[in-house]
């Protein structure tokens, strides 16, 4: 059990902190789809693939004092910033080795916007479909977000780019 917690701590540390719950959810999902052995189970929710197990694990890590959660008031909305504490780093070091082959994987994901990661994760969720069906499905479930052809093309390129790093 605790090894799975340590993997999340390790990821947040490698990403040098993560801003936003949605962003964290999508980054772990994308890596999982790329074959990184995260064990959290995902289902499709409002913003695409979502893991209740991951939400629980992050809350537990915050309660244990290994990850700090800071609430940032952005005026019309709030955002949660996650970073690893010194105790968290000790915990990570005591419990295991990293599941990421290269810290660049985490950093590359982290430099993308939440919207872009939502798009990428949703496309990956439908990767059992033909590409045209995959895009049709994206427009059905994410109609309100009006993703452009250019964004979709960039997301597919990003998936290929990440695959090379794996």
């Amino acid at each position: 059990m605790l090894q799975e917690h340590a993997k999340i701590v390790d990821f947040i540390s490698m990403a040098e902190g993560v801003t936003g719950r949605k962003k964290l959810q999508k980054m772990i999902y994308i890596l999982k789809k790329m074959g990184v052995p995260f064990q959290e189970k995902y289902e499709f929710h409002i913003y695409g693939p979502y893991s209740e197990e991951l939400t629980a694990r992050v809350e537990e890590l915050c309660d244990m004092g290994f990850v700090s959660e800071a609430l940032e008031d952005k005026g019309s909305y709030v955002q949660y910033n996650y970073s690893v504490t010194a105790e968290g780093l000790e915990f990570r070091d005591a419990l295991g080795k990293s599941v990421l082959a290269d810290p660049l994987q985490a950093l590359k994901l982290n430099e993308k916007s939440s919207r872009f990661l939502e798009l990428t994760a949703t496309l990956l969720y439908f990767d059992h479909l033909e590409r045209t069906e995959q895009i049709d499905k994206l427009h059905i479930v994410k109609g309100k977000l009006n993703f452009t052809d250019e964004e979709i093309g960039q997301a597919f390129e990003f998936i290929e780019e990440l695959a090379v790093l794996m």
């Binding site: 059990m1 605790l2 917690h5 936003g20 719950r21 949605k22 959810q25 064990q39 189970k41 289902e43 499709f44 929710h45 409002i46 913003y47 979502y50 209740e52 939400t55 629980a56 809350e59 537990e60 309660d63 244990m64 004092g65 290994f66 952005k74 019309s76 909305y77 709030v78 955002q79 949660y80 915990f91 005591a94 419990l95 939440s114 969720y125 439908f126 059992h128 499905k137 059905i140 479930v141």
Partner: protein, 434 residues
Amino acid sequence: MSYATQKLAEEKVFKDPVHRYIHVRDQVIWDLINSREVQRLRRIKQLGTSYLVFHGAEHSRFNHSLGVYEIVRRIVDDIFHERPAWDESERLVVLCAALLHDLGHGPFSHSFEKVFHVDHEVFTREILLGDTEVNGILLKVAPDFPKKVAEVIAKTYPNKQVVSLISSQIDADRMDYLQRDAYYTGVSYGHFDMERILRVMRPVEDQVVIKSSGMHAVEDYIMSRYQMYWQVYFHPVARSAEVILRKILQRAKELSESGYKFEQPPTHFMAFFNRTFHLKDYLALDEGVLMTYFQLWMQERDPILSDLSDRFVNRRLFQYVDFDPGKDYRKLGELSQLFRKAGIDPDYYLIDDSTSDLPYDFYRPGEEEERLPIHLLMPAGEIKELSRSSQIVDAISGKRRTDYKLYFPAELLIDGKKKAVKQQILQMLREGGV
């Protein structure tokens, strides 16, 4: 008359302890119930290992699937029928999705999925879309019908009203399992006024809301759910059985990977050990098959596999103590080393386990909450999130409760060999703070 609208000459009814009767008029539903894949659910218990604590809890996923179907049937035929915000053309797809929503569950799903890294939702989709009897029946409705049913279950169907009937914070799935599990376990929690909730459900735009006059019935439902999770679903003794089950499967897998020669070849598991499994391998498994292997493995030469199998079959479960991983993860490492010194493999006999639940959550503007809240339909027609009207729900909203336990075989620690180190282990466990 098309197959989609074809009715049985006479209505069929199933006697049911929760809903009294389950009514079937549609030929499609009748054919689905009689398919191999739905019948297989009779051989998978709804509550996994809970029967080792609540001896009545032997009910199957088949019972529950019929129950969810019946609740949805009553909603769409009695409550939503002819309401302008409800699209009648969705009736059959939502009924099929209700009946088939758990189709991909395997034997002791939770443990099996963890050890073999499989996902029952992927199997649900494969059963619906693959070469199965269920797929053949759904295809007779329309070529795209299996896909539609799969999308409702996967929550990617465009009509969110339809999805929320099967999957939301107040859905037919939960309403059935809470009452059914309460009935079969014999506990007094889990009961709520479902009749009242159904009567006040309304389709509005892209969601299903509850008339505000039904708020107290919903409060009761949420509290029932809260009680059932902590009293039944997360029962520490049932979790002990679950831990042992997981370790049996893990041991068998590791033995197979190391080239161990089993007395009886574990034919049914080989595709999972080798990760070469297909849908047919999965469908060939049920709890009868697994229990047969556990009986056989009690006679295996490997002492760990035979001991764990014996523990599960004969209910010789692990003891447990509370555990605070934030403070005590280092002590867990020390304990592991002491277990090794005592000749007990901690990978199989010292297991930390956590479980948590969030009874109800609501949407916080601007943050990316992924749970659809329960909305009340107020007398003037406006929509209001439940916890803003209900103090009881507000008190538990967004509050996760987590429980950590450490499981171990107490009797192995009090037998004669390596007494000093075992004493040290027992001392650490007794003192808590491990």
